[in-house]
Symmetry: C3
Subunit: 356 residues, 3 copies
């Protein structure tokens, strides 16, 4: 675990006028490099084996330089080399997944955002505490299946990456379908429409624990494209599929752009504010881009499922702006917004507020 | 009811070079204010209680000024104050809903569009007359359920905002499902894909009852995101859900952008033309933005469900242009198109043609 | 059949500085004309009867000139007239459908792309050979229904334009549903999410059979909107609909924009490369825009269904650029990319490489 103090020490040797933005070549890296270049930064792409050939097809995003590693954990041994290049890392979820959470926490390179957030978002109990503190109710967990009163989503333990789920509309159905030899968790099924909400919180525009004007932004939103759940109805209904031994899965393959009703924006902003304010109280705050995965019901309630305290891939559609960010500044992606924050922090000597 | 004559009287005191665009802060107001500002207008946001905090996050759309009202009906008492500011109101459906139709008709402030249209679109019989006159066939109504020959959509009376519907595939099914203690209306179910078509009709570019070249525009299109109907298949088929006592609902939560086959454009334009031409004959014409809610079947027929004679929220995605408006002018939203129409009318002394 | 030699002869009389871009006014013509004009070309729209009125609403796309034909096959008799105007034809699928494949092959006007490709994509056996050579596995065909082990898609012979299909989840179900008086083909049903991938291959940027850096581009992607399959779940599940005698259909009515996970891009590019490289070996190569219709499964496999060796209508959303093309050049549609290729080929005397 790298401490804030150590990161501040590293920064003493940095030339704030020659920062290079780096990330692993995956997930949202095209956007991150494109945004960094638009703000005048040099860019460095970290990749295993060799640079992805497809970067040649995207000249505006292709990084200025590559760091080739044997395996991603090798990044840990290259920290000094990276610091010598005045590198600031922009982490995304593939970055953290490839490196491992432990390694990520210990990586001795200044990193955009608050690395403490990862602990709070990936531990179910901590996340619950955070959300409850923020006044946000997640879908109810049902400990005893006898308490099932309506539709539920059941997830088997150890299931990975969107697989190992089933849906039941009643206790009776649950009882018929469940494989009792496996461990499972039961959660209320929320009927509605899915929205991933892409926020940006700027610590350098904020003072104190209550958000100042304009320090929370909504940059865009998307709907996850989930394979096979999104198109499985073409094959059969949940009931019909069970007979054929086919289960829905929720593996992300891409993202569809959309907007929400304008009358929901007040609550969408409140939601983000509560999440940020509680995070400031709990662990120093989430910093920069974050995403709330929500379902909007037919009572126009916004039910929160998950939080990701960094740039998400759903922002990739909006490389040249979105219906929301266009109302702040033209050609503003989340990647570029991150670069603007770093530039502004470097200029005003506040890098300590946005790096960890 | 304010007469055209009264509006023309009001306009005599207006300074056409200092018009301010106003609307209620909801629905499509970000787009309306952004568009107005791009055309050089001052903007005023009307809101109950206090200005929505989230406007601070969208500096390009934030109105220059607010009018705070205790309740929206209070707008009726502020007419003189609004007129003194050279206000032109851009109404949207939340505006009319908050104010009430009666009040809206009587509001003593010059308003973009033809206020007579609201009567024709919201009364089923008048709408039918309008559409029949325009040669447009809406989904058939079935007065006697014994006449049900194929799939139908049943709506209970008094159902509000997208709730109170069910689908039946046959008379037998209808018979099993219907609650005969309630009043209901039965309508043919149209199987296909939904498109909301965003038109703009310019009276100042047109002469007479037959549309001149270029006086009808297609600015964009969207698909409504409806909660819970859009994703309800993840929980069960209509049949499976009925057993669980769950009904589909059609509450708008947002909008997905899309384009239609180019070969459909001729018919999409004809549809719009017929609607405008018939409206000119019936009540002086719909003016400015309007939307046709349609389903396109697998025979490539365009079935019309509803008409909205003003800006719709589905245009919100296209704040910086759409695949269609980009072929007219860059960066052209429906909100901006409205502002352009007002600007042009003011410049050429034709405000009487577009206000009511 | 027009030979390359004949086309080269035609080109000798062309003024490379006064080329006019022409196509039939349908499908993706707005985009083609808009793109051509942005690159400084004159444009000519071919239409039967009279020019589509709706072009007046899209001044940036409206062609400079029309060629009115009695019926589209009449284009065959106008070849000399077209050549005298230094016309290069941009074919799209409506163009080929209206004219007929035979006529299209024999049309005595220089045409963008390799006309030989049409034979290879429209003949199932040739397409299979092409794809197998490229290492791409299409959904398995099942010759003997007794071999049905999982879900299948059944297509009746002679079915047209997205109609005449049904889905079965097992041999038993197939057996119950199939109409044995009709001929049919059975194919594995691939469960996943649909993506149409829009590529561009530039022969003038490439050397030899192995693709050089940057000679293959990914310009955008979309999801087809299919009527009635996309929204049929609102009416019933496949099982429930069969009882009501309703079949799913797959008629294209429009397109929704989307992006894919960035981690899939490497494989998306490999796929495109293999298809191009094999086409170079088999028939001189597909040239310019092409599209791979794919399904991405929950194992993140990309299953290929069909290939279209020209501009597809799914590119129409991206008239002013896409999340992918924005990383090459601003405001780059597929239509404009085609115009750029022609301009560059004309400038460097390489029109022979991109026309047929």
């Amino acid at each position: 675990m790298i401490t804030k103090q150590q990161v501040l020490e590293f920064l003493k040797d940095y030339d704030p006028e020659n920062i290079t933005i780096a990330t692993v070549c995956s997930h949202s890296s095209l956007q991150i490099f494109d945004g960094a270049r638009k703000e005048g930064f040099r860019t460095l792409g970290i990749c295993a084996d060799k640079p992805p050939k497809f970067y040649d097809a995207f000249p505006r995003a292709k990084p200025d330089e590559y760091l080739i590693v044997e395996s991603y954990t090798d990044i840990m041994n290259r920290a000094e080399e990276l610091r010598k290049k005045n590198i600031i890392i922009i982490p995304h979820s593939s970055f953290i997944y490839y490196l491992g959470k432990e390694n990520f926490s210990g990586m001795a390179v200044p990193t955009f955002g608050n690395r403490a957030a990862i602990e709070w978002e990936s531990d179910r109990d901590k996340e619950s505490k955070w959300f409850l503190g923020a006044g946000i109710h997640m879908p109810g967990k049902i400990d005893d299946p006898h308490d099932i009163k309506g539709p539920v989503m059941v997830e088997y333990e150890g299931a990975k990456g969107g697989k190992g789920f089933f849906v039941a509309r009643s206790y009776k159905e649950f009882n018929e379908l469940v494989d009792r030899t496996r461990k499972y968790a039961v959660q209320e099924f929320i009927n509605g429409t899915r929205y991933d909400l892409h926020y940006f919180y700027s610590p350098i525009r904020n003072e104190g624990y209550t958000l100042s004007k304009g320090s929370l932004e909504l940059l865009s939103m998307d709907r996850r494209v989930e394979s096979n759940a999104d198109e499985i109805f073409r094959l059969g209904s949940p009931g019909e599929l069970i007979e054929a031994g086919i289960c829905p899965t929720y593996v992300l393959t891409g993202n569809v752009p959309l907007v929400a009703r304008e009358s929901l924006l007040s609550r969408i902003f409140s939601l983000g504010e509560q999440v940020v304010e509680e995070s400031l109280a709990l662990f120093g705050g989430i910093t920069g881009a974050f995403c709330i995965e929500a379902v909007i019901t037919d009572s126009l309630e916004i039910k929160v499922f998950e939080l990701s305290s960094r740039i998400v891939s759903g922002t990739n559609f909006y490389i040249s702006g979105s219906p929301y960010s266009d109302l702040m500044q033209k050609d503003l992606s989340t990647g570029r917004r991150i670069a603007i924050e770093i530039k502004e922090a470097a200029r005003t000597n506040q890098l300590d507020k946005i790096l960890s």
